[in-house]
């Protein structure tokens, strides 16, 4: 799938287009919007004292934001979150999965339908950037635009949602460390990096060796397929001091959760912004939250996240606008 397994220089043209909406600066500019999304989600649950972490918070935030970047209406956020969650938790081949895959196809169809109008009247969103771009002297087809958007949705929604869910569960289980973050919120970005290292939501990725090379005594020939286990590399004792230990102030922390090299996650900056804002908001508004239920994915082969996660906390009033 383009540009997931395309190499430079061909991949660079796509990457430049994606960077228009996902670069460090663009991600920073989205922070107020992310904060609004998080506030809105927390407002809806804060008075009840309980929340479904995936459906009330992490899913809607990551999906609505990703759709905004793509150029789809926020009203589709929860639907998109549910779709991406179901695609990850329900086994491929089952009748339920086929139904979900069809729904995802429908969503892509809606993206494709927007291409002609965004081509005519471009906005600052991914559909417009892709629809008005030329790569190697030709415009992208409607299908190509939709496929790149699909990749961004697949990469941006359930991944970040899983990471935040892992972080919340860990903090619930480690009240002293949670208190440390509450007392010193400046530690949250570094804590986020450590959660990324130990809870890599994408366990690994398949790649093709481009040249004969040797890795840790194993010979690879050009064309060999290799599965890169990011989650394992992040626990390499040669790279990390006491790798099994979660240290919220670990530095340096050169984890490979986002991949390395030219294929590193293009949405990493946006993921970091969301992790930071969600954790900061939850710790500020429901500092005594307890994760009461956390059911991991039925299959942890490729993704590392949760099928369900519930939390309780002392009820609080909504933000002023809500009251």
């Amino acid at each position: 799938m383009i540009p997931l397994e395309l190499d430079p220089p061909a991949s660079l043209a796509y990457r430049k287009l994606l960077n228009l909406t996902l670069s460090p600066q663009a991600s920073k500019a989205r922070k107020p919007y992310i904060q609004d999304l998080v506030t809105e989600c927390l407002d809806q649950v804060c008075e009840s004292g309980q929340m479904d972490v995936l459906h009330d918070l992490t899913g809607p935030v990551t999906a609505t934001l990703t759709l905004a970047i793509v150029g789809m209406p926020a009203s589709q956020g929860r639907r998109c979150a549910q779709l991406m969650h179901d695609m990850t938790t329900i086994f491929p081949g089952s009748p339920e999965y086929n139904e979900i895959a069809q729904d995802f196809g429908k969503l892509l169809g809606e993206i494709a339908a927007l291409v002609p109008e965004r081509r005519a009247e471009p906005r600052d969103d991914l559909i417009s950037h892709l629809a008005t771009a030329t790569i190697d002297g030709r415009a992208l087809s409607i299908e190509e635009v939709a496929n790149v958007c699909a990749l961004v949705i697949a990469g941006g929604v359930e991944t970040t949602a899983s990471l935040v869910a892992h972080a919340l569960r860990w903090l619930s289980e480690h009240p002293e460390e949670r208190q440390r973050l509450i007392n010193d919120p400046d530690l949250i970005p570094s804590a986020g990096e450590e959660f990324l290292r130990v809870f890599a939501p994408v366990a690994g990725m398949a790649r093709t060796a481009t040249t004969r090379t040797e890795i840790a005594g194993a010979m690879l020939e050009a064309g060999d397929r290799v599965f890169l286990m990011y989650g394992a590399a992040n626990l390499d004792p040669a790279a990390f001091d006491e790798p099994a230990e979660v240290r919220l102030d670990r530095f340096p922390n050169r984890h490979v959760t986002f991949g390395v090299g030219s294929h590193r996650c293009v949405g990493a900056h946006l993921a970091r912004a969301q992790i930071e804002i969600i954790l900061r908001s939850v710790l500020a508004r429901m500092p005594d939250f307890v994760i009461t239920e956390a059911e991991p994915y039925p299959d942890l082969g490729m993704g590392n996240g949760f099928a369900t996660m519930k939390a309780t906390f002392t009820p609080t009033a909504g933000s002023p606008a809500q009251r």
Binding site: K16, N19, S23, P24, Q25, P189, F251, P252, N253, R254, H255, V256, F258, V260, G261, S262, R264, A268, H269
Partner: protein, 75 residues
């Protein structure tokens, strides 16, 4: 490493070198030390070589240590 450590603690100018062929725009140097490592609009540091004053030497080292590609060296 040991010469880096020495320079980070001693009040001396340090020379920062970024290998553009190894840099993939993670922008983590910038996240640690924006004063030392400005980035372009795609997240790539604009530094190829520069002299960093003593008061920023420690930050420069943090930025280099944060690089997942080990693309930044201090001399």
């Amino acid at each position: 490493m040991s010469s880096d450590d020495r320079q980070a603690s001693a009040p001396e100018f340090v020379r920062v070198r970024r290998d553009p062929s190894a840099c993939y725009g993670h922008a983590l140097c910038n996240a640690q030390a924006p004063q030392v490592y400005p980035i372009d609009e795609e997240g790539f540091s604009t530094v190829t070589e520069k002299l960093v004053p003593p008061d920023l030497a420690e930050l420069a080292k943090r930025g280099a240590d944060a690089c997942p590609e080990s693309a930044i060296r201090l001399e």
